[in-house]
Symmetry: C2
Subunit: 893 residues, 2 copies
């Protein structure tokens, strides 16, 4: 039983809340008890806005009913009392043969929830009362149309009979009579249909269609409650984290009719333009029509502004109500109304859904109108909104021929001609052609081609595969892990689901949804408008979490800074090794027989690396730049075995013995460097310890660049980051050498630069010994990509084979490479943060994995007390927004 407790002066033993006619019990803040719809109907009634009277049965009754499958006496008493009151205020009685009270019955949970029972209209009609309605409205056809609709609706939503069973009868009838539209059916024909509908109910459910309106009502209420536990609703709750014990309320409301002649009508509207955000009343209506008709699209509705001419009093009243609602709810409203013989009734008001552009404009406008404050404006924008605004997207009106779907790895849409090699993509770019690069998977050698293409599509790879990471870094739309595709290199085409797509065929990819679409689809271009800039500016003032970027080139750095980055959190030096001018020296370094030869090759790389850093430091003047020393295994820089074998054949054919020898040696080196699991292999600081001269060169390049700029008076803040540390001694070793080199450079140049040496925390062992590592580190940067790999034991390049199945089987909710796994990886991070701060309470800690740009992960970073997130340039605005939202949310708690 429900306890009797006081809350806000009310006894919670109140189960039924009346609304309308100055007798309203509820209010908008009671959504938990009355559901969203019921609470808002009550609120409108409280505001003096005309609402057809009705009552709401609370969610508590739902929970009790679902438990016991019956109602307490008190509940029944209160429902009966509410019906009585409804009869009184309407001056009509349920089932009255002359002038019956007709009602609608609707569900209404705390949040709008598809999957539950929707609506039963015209409840109260029966064989007798239908005649009263006909007489009273002086329109028999209207009455029987209502009646047959009610019976079918009742059969469908209350009794669970397939709607088709009723619909077929109408279709048959029309065929028999040679009619085209339902509206051509006469009163008698509708009456006949009503009879046949009742027979369907008898046949399907073995019961007579209930004639008693009280029974109709009770059955409808039961059905609403029961629908809380139908499978669609349960699934929806699971996906959206809605508690099973919330329950739904039931709204019973007097019917009003918009189809009672030319002074009647019905419409839906938004208080502002939901597409652009423009502050202008927006919507449509139909005269002499019911709500269904507006939706059904049989008649073309009129723009809402026309109503002013047709029913000026109602229009004026409507505009006034909209203003009142916006002022009250302080947000754009989505409303439904009906005008019955000149009298306006509001049927619903709720926060209006809107496009990204509208969300931003409305939020900013409302701040300027004084409706909301800046914090509220910041919370009104969703991360997805920014994502949409920052990337070109597919015109939602376009017809799409989707041929397969992959992982949405880097957002935005792209159109171009299919090419299968990076070289081809580069070649075409020079000719001004737009391409989509389609690859089995990408490797660092493809970077040029990826940059040249409009978008990238790969067969293998997950959300943090090479293609995905590089794609996001470049802001390049990217769909990966499209396992259904099989590339036929010989014939320059790929096959998928019966399609055969040839080189040069047009293809469109949507990196926000993973869709791969045949042909050239129209795109909508990106925009970073003033409204968004204003809101992000407010976010910056609110947030505590710093936002840096992952950038490897001066251009990226510049872009990120324009988008609001406060420094570089991850500058990957390996990408610099792939430049066409560098790769020969890099390979020479790898092929070196001994330290001396290796150093010689490194000396060639030094000036180039220094040039890189000069550019990057320049783009980030006055801001910290975290440079990660070389991380990937060396074999990534060598050509593949296949390539070398080809090369060998070429030399053989040309009898070039020298060339053959060189290729042979390189093949041997490729073999020697071969690893079964390169992700867990000879990389990161392991390289820096086994070949310390590599890191020496890199530190030298960093410090020479920094000193050169510092000597000119330019402020630089280099932070040297040692990757893949698992044991404090690894860090100690590399740090000692880095410091020695840095001091030597400063000594030589006679310049002082403040620099830091820190480490990535990207291995479980680093986390577990973070207290020891903290003693050596000047900062921590959580590398959540690698940490996710090792915590899950998932190779980010190989998860494509089972993550989709895991998501389908609901074993994983998200791809953990896209959304930080707070339960596992996050738990580990907390251990690391705590251990690290136990030794150095002020240790600066950030996150520089791909998660740094993902909203729930950014929020997590804020909540666990990290100092900053670092993400690809195009995610920087999102991070700024979400960081501010996290601060606001924490404050509200």
């Amino acid at each position: 039983m429900i306890d009797l407790v006081f809350q806000g002066g009310d006894l919670l033993s109140k189960f039924v809340y009346f609304f309308g006619n100055n007798e309203t019990d509820g209010k908008s803040s009671m959504k938990d008890l009355l559901g969203g719809k019921g609470a808002n109907l009550a609120e409108m009634a409280n505001l003096g806005i005309p609402v057809p009277p009705g009552f709401t049965i609370t969610t508590e009754v739902c929970i009790e009913y679902l438990k016991n499958k019956e109602y307490s006496e008190e509940v029944i008493k209160q429902i009966n009392k509410a019906i009585e009151k409804l009869e009184t205020v309407n001056n009509k009685k349920l089932g009255d043969p002359e002038d019956p009270l007709l009602v609608s019955v609707r569900s209404g949970a705390r949040v709008s929830m598809p999957g539950m029972m929707d609506t039963v209209l015209n409840l109260g009609l029966n064989d007798t009362s239908v005649k009263g309605v006909a007489k009273k409205a002086n329109d028999e056809r209207f009455a029987y149309d209502c009646y047959r609709r009610f019976i079918a609706m009742f059969g469908d939503v209350v009794l669970g009979i397939e709607f088709k069973k009723f619909d077929t009868l109408i279709e048959e009838k029309k065929k028999e009579l040679g009619l085209k539209s339902d509206t051509d059916l006469t009163a008698d024909e509708l009456k006949e249909l009503a009879e046949r509908f009742k027979e369907v109910i008898k046949r399907e459910k073995g019961i007579e269609f209930p004639q008693d309106p009280r029974v109709q009502l009770q059955m409808a209420i039961d059905a609403v409650f029961d629908s809380w536990n139908n499978s669609r609703a349960i699934k929806y709750r699971e996906i959206n984290n809605i508690a099973d014990n919330w329950g739904t309320a039931v709204n019973v409301q007097s019917m009003v009719y918009g189809n009672m002649g030319e002074t009647s009508g019905t419409g839906v509207a938004f208080t502002r333009n939901p597409s652009t955000g423009e502050k202008r009343f927006f919507g449509e209506y139909l005269l002499n029509a019911q709500g269904e008709d507006v939706v059904a699209g049989i008649r073309t509705p009129n723009p809402i502004l026309d109503l002013e001419k047709q029913i000026p009093a109602a229009y004026e009243q409507l505009v006034d109500i909209c203003r009142k609602l916006e002022a009250h709810f302080r947000d754009m409203q989505d409303i439904e109304f009906t005008i019955q013989e000149g009298q306006l009734y509001m049927l619903q008001t709720r926060t209006g859904k809107r496009t990204a552009a509208a969300a931003v404009k409305v939020a900013r406008d409302m701040v300027e109108e004084g409706l909301i404050d800046r914090e509220t404006a910041v919370t009104r924008i969703e991360a997805d909104h920014i994502d949409q605004l920052l990337h070109p997207r597919i015109n939602p009106e376009a017809e799409l021929e989707v041929i397969t779907k992959g992982l949405p790895a880097s957002p935005g849409a792209a159109v171009g001609k299919v090419v299968f090699t990076a070289e081809e993509a580069e070649l075409r770019a020079e000719l001004g052609e737009k391409t989509i690069l389609v690859r089995g998977e990408t490797s660092p050698e493809d970077i040029g081609g990826m940059a040249a293409a409009q978008g990238v599509l790969t067969v293998r790879g997950g959300m943090t595969s090479h293609a995905a990471v590089v794609g996001r870094g470049m802001g390049k739309p990217c769909v990966v892990g499209c396992g259904e595709i099989s590339i036929d290199t010989k014939n320059s085409l790929f096959r998928v689901n019966g399609y055969s797509v040839k080189e040069n065929d047009y293809l469109t990819i949507d990196g926000s949804t993973g869709k791969v679409i045949l042909g050239e689809v129209e795109l909508i271009e990106a925009e970073l408008n003033k409204d968004l800039q204003a809101i992000l500016g407010w976010a910056d003032k609110i947030r505590e979490l710093g936002v840096r970027t992952n950038a490897d080139t001066p251009n990226d750095a510049k872009l990120a800074r324009e988008l609001g980055a406060e420094g570089i959190g991850l500058c990957r030096t390996e990408h610099m090794f792939f430049g066409e001018d560098r790769i020969p020296a890099v390979r020479e370094m790898i092929m070196a027989e001994d330290e001396k030869a290796r150093k010689k090759a490194l000396r060639k790389l030094l000036p180039m690396q220094k040039e890189d850093f000069l550019g990057i430091f320049h783009s980030m003047v006055g801001l910290p730049v975290t440079v990660r020393l070389l991380d990937p295994p060396l074999h990534e820089f060598l050509p593949s075995k296949e390539e070398l074998n080809e090369k060998y054949k070429e030399f053989e054919a040309a009898s070039d013995l020298d060339g053959m020898e060189r290729v042979k040696m390189m093949l041997q080196r490729v073999d020697a460097l071969k690893e079964l699991n390169p992700m867990l292999g000879h990389r990161g600081c392991r390289l820096g310890i086994t070949y310390p001269e590599i890191y020496d060169m890199q530190v030298k390049a960093i410090m020479e660049a920094a000193c050169e700029l510092a000597a000119e008076g330019t402020r630089v803040e280099p932070e040297i980051m040692i990757p893949l540390v698992g044991h404090v001694k690894e860090l100690a070793f590399s740090k000692a050498r880095a410091i020695k080199m840095a001091e030597a450079v400063m000594e030589e140049t006679g310049t002082k630069v403040e620099y830091k040496v820190g480490t990535m925390i990207e291995l479980p062992r680093a986390v577990l010994t973070a207290d020891k590592i903290a003693a050596e580190a000047e900062f921590f940067s959580f590398g959540t990509n690698d940490l996710t790999q090792t915590t899950f034991g998932f190779s980010r390049d190989d998860v494509g084979k089972f993550i989709p199945i895991y998501k389908e089987a609901e074993i994983l909710e998200n791809d953990p490479f896209a959304v930080l796994d707070q339960e596992g990886v996050g738990e580990l991070m907390k251990i690391g943060i705590e251990k690290g701060r136990s030794v150095k309470p002020d240790l600066k800690m950030g996150i520089c994995g791909e998660h740094g740009g993902e909203p729930s992960s950014i929020k997590f970073a804020h909540d666990v007390g990290l100092n900053y997130v670092s993400c690809s340039p195009y995610r920087v605005p999102i991070a700024r927004l979400v960081a501010a939202q996290s601060t606001i949310e924490a404050k509200q708690k």
Copy 2:
């Protein structure tokens, strides 16, 4: 300053402890203060055993001196008093020109510690007193021999002058005089050498050789203390976890001489035979000689038993002392003695080092003699001892031509002819030939060849590479990661360090040391003798930790049971998939286009899998058998691309279109299954979830086998283990199916079998969510191989490239795949144990990685409260022993 505190009735302000002549201050239990040597000298004196009198300066003085570089007045006072007492009991005075007191000065820490200053003998000699000695001994040559030795020793160990600088002078002198041996030098020549030695000191150190014996003594004491902090000693302490603040004591002891004629002599002995353990006095001596001479090997010493005839009184006394020492120390003693003109002096006693066989025999005998109890006997055996006894080993007398060294992956030595393929090894085995299989790395296909060969040598791979794990499982000697070797397949040879070893050349490998030796070396066979069995029986009664085995075949299971295993902790089912009769069906299963075809192939495997389990359950009647469902990625079961390409060419040559098509399809599948990091890929329960029919078949086979045996009344305890779980839902999914299948089999067979379903804990995420996983699991088995891989981010197959460098640079002390990393992986395990037990306090937990057979890891397993370890059969006796030792150690704390 040292505080004055009472301890055991003594004021700790005592800095110098006298021993000998019934005036002994110390005792054996004061090793912390007096060092091992000093404490044992004191103990012997206390026991009335004749010891040349002397005194010990405590370790506390060492620490104080090292801090302040000077001694307190009190210390100086006490040293002077001790010297006075020494002079009194010897009735000689330091520096007396007629009959000087001569002393030795030795270091002596708590534990024997190489790297510190060793010994200065004959201290007290100078230009004057040497003459007194000559006169008194009536032997000028003796006196000057002592003197020149003292100066050189003093110069070397006290002043730090290279010993070569003195030695060269002797060599030059002998050359000049045409002499062969030092003993040919006359008194005058020795006298001249002494003079020249003093010049060396002057030249090298700029000081005169000190003539004042007090100064000599002070300098020698300083030098002992300083040697505590020389780099060799520091390094030794680091490696052996000896605290820096222990310090060393200094022992100053009167000299005695065994070279004073035919009633004098000197010797070293063991109270029992240190090689066999036989209870028989064992050692050797020389008459008229000094300790150095016995060691130097210039004269051949006599067996100790001969002494009975030559100096019967002294011999009798010596035997008596040995008995007394053994009774007192309750262990075999390693002693040094000198007889000076018929008078026996004991110079040292300490616990004697012994071979494995001796250790076991001595321990068992001493229990039977009532000297020690069974617990003590168990603690007297080292894990290495058992290892030695269980594997053939290289005859320690053999001369070895070591050509390279790898990782000692599976202990024991093996001799055979070099072969380069598994097939060849199998072929030779059929011909009765012994082979060593040399491979780049091994793969599951090589298992037959590994079994057929005497030993396995691989170029790549670490301590838990395939070769290592399988080798240990088979008890097959194995050396892996021999990176210096390069195999030349075309010429059927391998090259290493200038050697070229051809097929059929004899090779010997030592899997206990990693040595690779050219030729056929003599081996000593293994023995599991009665003594060891008795001691292991005692261990079983003591230990709390269970010991299971990792076994995949009935034979392994049987062997392990004979060696004491109490069940199977890990039965890997994948090894069963490689059988020649199975692999076609396995490949058919992998090639299957859909579930139906896959199920068809699985139906063929079912009876074979069932047969496997029948055999294994039979070998383990009454004991639990944990069966791990399929773990490795499927591509491991397919032929390699190279092989398939070869095959294709064959079919092409034979115009076999069908064959070509089949190979082509398999090539496609190999490509589709290709993973960049298979260790983190589509394996373990990920297979069981994406292809649930595989696990269904395995569970069916397990349960059908179990039910069949149970129906015959045979007790079976199957435990079904789901591998690579990272999320509780993975376990829940596979467990639900397993239970459904198990119930179905029991239903069908009408038999009930108690079975469990549990999981491996081998991923950090499993540990971090162990509380959630525990809710679904009936047992946990820590898979420390994979857990080490993911915690460190090390691929066990690829670490060979940097682990040796890490060990050399002292970044890692041990290969974490050989010795459990307690700081990182162990820390993680503790979290898992705690979280798991927080939900199920009685949850059975074990460890089944390779660490289950490694002593320090077994001890860790005991200490953190695991229920059992599981290891390869040949490690079972070690685990039994170490488990018992862990219990004893914990009890003592």
